[in-house]
Symmetry: D2
Subunit: 140 residues, 4 copies
Amino acid sequence: MRESRTTFRVRFGETDMAGIVFYPNFFAYFDLATQALFAGGPVDLPAQMKSGGFGFPIVESGAKFLAPLFYDDEITIVTTVAELRARSLRVEHAVHRGDVLCATGFETRVHGRKKTDGSGVEVTPIPPELTSWLSGSTPA
Amino acid sequence: MRESRTTFRVRFGETDMAGIVFYPNFFAYFDLATQALFAGGPVDLPAQMKSGGFGFPIVESGAKFLAPLFYDDEITIVTTVAELRARSLRVEHAVHRGDVLCATGFETRVHGRKKTDGSGVEVTPIPPELTSWLSGSTPA
Amino acid sequence: MRESRTTFRVRFGETDMAGIVFYPNFFAYFDLATQALFAGGPVDLPAQMKSGGFGFPIVESGAKFLAPLFYDDEITIVTTVAELRARSLRVEHAVHRGDVLCATGFETRVHGRKKTDGSGVEVTPIPPELTSWLSGSTPA
Amino acid sequence: MRESRTTFRVRFGETDMAGIVFYPNFFAYFDLATQALFAGGPVDLPAQMKSGGFGFPIVESGAKFLAPLFYDDEITIVTTVAELRARSLRVEHAVHRGDVLCATGFETRVHGRKKTDGSGVEVTPIPPELTSWLSGSTPA
């Protein structure tokens, strides 16, 4: 299955008065890492989302916080496609600072877009070329 | 000119590792206070913005930071319409914690919406009933 | 077990380009709701945290997203103490907009504070009066 | 005077329901760019701030918003030391997306740290080696 690595530094504004990263920002990091995973693939999701097309809305997420993150820490998120279904996928994230595993987490997302009549989300199969790429069957 | 007061408490997640509110959040407070100002008026801006109608995009903003804000501080923002033009307005904000004036700031906003062809913002006159209300000529 | 309700409106800045609340903000709402739960109790946690004392650092969190939240939605979070142990607790959150259950989630938190030598978190038993209050044995 | 360039991409979570970057995030970008300016210099400010030492608290900031920023835009912030005084400095920021100047802004910051008795900020002269570096008298 496809895997990606995203490396960046913790921003000052992502910390809180406890001196560590405010925990909801770990999920913002997960979102960032998932976008980075897709950025390597065959579909231009940002362009598609800007024009009202399909994206991957979240349906479930969770995290375990093992060690705090501090301002200016360089972290690497290893993101792996853990489950790939017709209309959804589960990605797993591991947040590393050097040798320390600081957090693990997951996101379950569906392939969908907002209905034009505002009645909710239209869920639809992940296109074959994207499925193939996410499964690792096609080269990066 | 119209004036409004918005009172709320500083959230934990709005602080940073220095133990005080991260300064960009003062501008998020200003945005909140400006939305609260309009919420008292004759136009349902949230509904209008959700349907792609007119809103008040920002063109300039600034702030002076006089005293830090801490988690759980109860603050009141006094927001005043300082200038009212055909297509724009300037609102001024004063952030108070009890007797302490913690920050002052302003926002200049135009009355507009995104062009459907994506080429930018269409700026248009503020509707008369809203101008009248913002000027304080009509009762709150 | 203790339960609390927290009601507020979705802020404009909490939405994203999909027109709905950016999912990490649900966890910021959970944090807010947990702080509100404790605010009703016998310990002044904000004061304690400001002076470097004990708080409730997060160790695990998760959420299911059932319906999107929109700008200006009035939401109520029902927060319940689901498990109460000597040094930790699990709170569960349900996010309601009127009759619609929009999300459910949980947080597992330990009672602790940063060690003064910077080597991590010192975990310690939850004080009896707080345990008693969280269990609902003492009146709100 | 010292100048630095910071390049990064707009994150999905930094946008709002208008489809563009929520304006307070421009100030978060300015903060990021100022930290990046200092990162090239002779003082390890993140380490100093973590240990309760001196930093550069903000006293004033402002911005003009010339063109919106969108998700995934690659932007470069050019940050320049515009004024350098004994105890404060003013940096100016220009946010570019390719050939388009999207925003300009400034920050005025003092050299200081929180007093240990909690009574406010102790402002002190910028150390000579940092002044020299900020003025561009010493090589990058």
